[in-house]
């Protein structure tokens, strides 16, 4: 059985559509590496407002560190705005267990006290293990537990694929 995946570019437009008007005018978009970072770079052009863009690498905050280990070449977290009192939209490609988002929220609080944190995801594939829900979502779909959905980027064009986990 092959899983029918939506077009990534069209889903990004759908996500931006849901955010338009709903998201605060000066909300910062913070992408979780690497898929979420690509999306966070694209969103300010699609969502009206004055949106600073930041990036977050959650490697050091993950709870599966003891079993999965540290992948070399982690990227630097960069938040070029004052986190204190900011409205932040965390951006990720695929929301699954919710553990990356938990790690990202923990990391944000090591930089300050945001006024509000929201969550925008391209794909919500269900299977949550934590009480975390997206504020904005491009598409919802169901795939077998042992498959992972992977976002890739080729010449700025985004693409979704399914891989055996």
């Amino acid at each position: 059985m092959t899983t029918q995946l939506p077009d990534a570019e069209a889903t990004l437009v759908a996500l931006a559509e849901r955010m338009r008007g709903a998201v605060a005018y000066e909300a910062a978009f913070v992408g979780i590496y690497s898929g979420g970072a690509w999306l966070a770079e694209r969103l300010p052009a699609l969502v009206p407002g004055d949106h600073p863009v930041g990036f977050i690498d959650v490697s050091f905050y993950r709870d599966d560190y003891a079993t999965a280990g540290l992948k070399g070449g982690s990227r630097r977290t960069s938040l070029p705005f004052n986190v204190d009192g900011a409205t932040i939209v965390l951006v990720d490609d695929v929301l699954f267990t919710g553990r990356s988002v938990r790690a990202a929220i923990n990391e944000l609080f090591d930089f300050g006290r945001p006024a509000r944190i929201e969550l925008a995801v391209l794909i919500d594939r269900g299977g949550r293990e934590l009480p975390i829900e997206p504020t904005y979502c491009g598409a919802r779909l169901t795939v077998a537990q042992d498959l992972s959905i992977v976002l890739s980027r080729d010449d700025d064009r985004l693409k979704l694929d399914v891989q055996k986990a």
């Binding site: 050091f60 560190y65 540290l70 070399g72 070449g73 630097r76 960069s78 090591d110």
Partner: protein, 320 residues
């Protein structure tokens, strides 16, 4: 035979020496250190990677900088750090090294950071742990005898890469007391593994290990000749405390021949950087105007050292 520093999957499980460590492992450590540098620039300088782990600092030999930076590194990773002042403890009451280790393992140690005046002591501990089936306990060599000081070598490599970007067209000179220097040995192995085309050692023959050329370096006894065209100048501390017998006429004489002055530094490339592992002896191996000058990167070396040690500890603790 497998490298005792790597586990069956090729992941770093102990750090004992840079000699024989594959280039991709060294690069991986340097890459991993990179994001840790920025943690030092944050308001909350702590990440939860080693939460609940116990790091034992076992220093059988004096050190301030290395012990402190290991302690800071472990604390920034949220580990519990236990500093043992071995000189004033059981060893002086006759306990053997391996008995000390077994007792600390019984206290649930996860990482041993070991400095010892005997070359090979960290390797002996790693072997012992492996023989006891305690592969979840890891060893980091923080300097053993004249043998190796791998985290210093790695922070030196990190510093060079930070300022020079790439090793493939560099000329690096290591100057002074190479004979007693584990720092020099580790750096030479690291530089050659990463493909540095020219590594020079500069010093008097009495302070040079015999057959040092076998490590892939060019030897210069004339400092001015050796510094010509260098991109990186690494000064070593004159380790008078390790010298038995007459290796040198005097510190003053040493400074005249092998002390780094502005005048001699002018022979290196105009953008050459000056490094020193510390502690510095001003007026012995390095002149104050150079040590405090704009080409010295001696203090950044210390800062990078914390990030490199964080990288090493987090990598070995997660070796699976």
């Amino acid at each position: 035979m497998r490298n005792p520093q790597l586990n069956a999957n090729g992941a770093l499980t102990h750090l004992l020496t840079l000699e024989g460590l594959p280039a991709d492992v060294i690069r991986n450590i340097l890459d991993t250190a990179d994001p840790f540098v920025s943690i030092g620039e944050r308001e909350v300088k702590k990440v939860p990677l080693l939460r609940g782990k116990a790091v034992f600092n076992l220093f059988f030999e004096n050190s301030t900088r290395t012990r402190t930076t290991f302690e800071i590194a472990a604390k920034r990773l949220s580990a519990d750090v236990i500093n043992l002042n071995i000189g004033a403890s059981s060893t002086s009451k006759g306990e053997t090294l391996l008995d000390t280790i077994d007792n600390l393992v019984a206290m649930d140690a996860d990482i041993f950071v070991v400095r010892h005046s005997q070359s090979g002591a960290p390797h002996l501990i790693a072997q012992h742990l492996c023989g006891q089936g305690r592969s979840h306990v890891h060893v980091v060599n923080a300097g053993d005898g004249r043998h190796a000081h791998p985290t210093q070598g790695l922070l030196d490599l990190y510093t060079i890469r930070h300022y020079k970007k790439d090793f493939h067209n560099l000329t690096v000179a290591i100057v002074g007391d190479v004979l007693h220097s584990r720092v020099a040995r580790s750096l030479i192995h690291g530089l050659t593994t990463l493909g540095t085309p020219e590594v020079r050692v500069i010093g008097t023959r009495t302070l040079m290990p015999s057959h040092v050329e076998a490590m892939g370096v060019r030897v210069f006894t004339d400092m001015r000749e050796g510094l010509r065209g260098c991109d990186v100048v690494v000064m070593l501390r004159l380790q008078s405390e390790r010298m038995k017998g007459a290796l040198l006429p005097s510190a003053g004489e040493f400074f005249k021949n092998y002390g780094l002055t502005q005048d001699k530094l002018a022979l290196a490339k105009p953008d050459a950087i000056v490094m020193h592992p510390g502690p510095m002896n001003r007026g012995v191996e390095i002149d104050s105007p150079v040590a405090d000058g704009e080409r010295a990167v001696i203090l950044p070396q210390v800062t990078f050292g914390i990030a490199v040690r964080m990288a090493v500890m987090s990598m070995i603790a997660s070796a699976a």
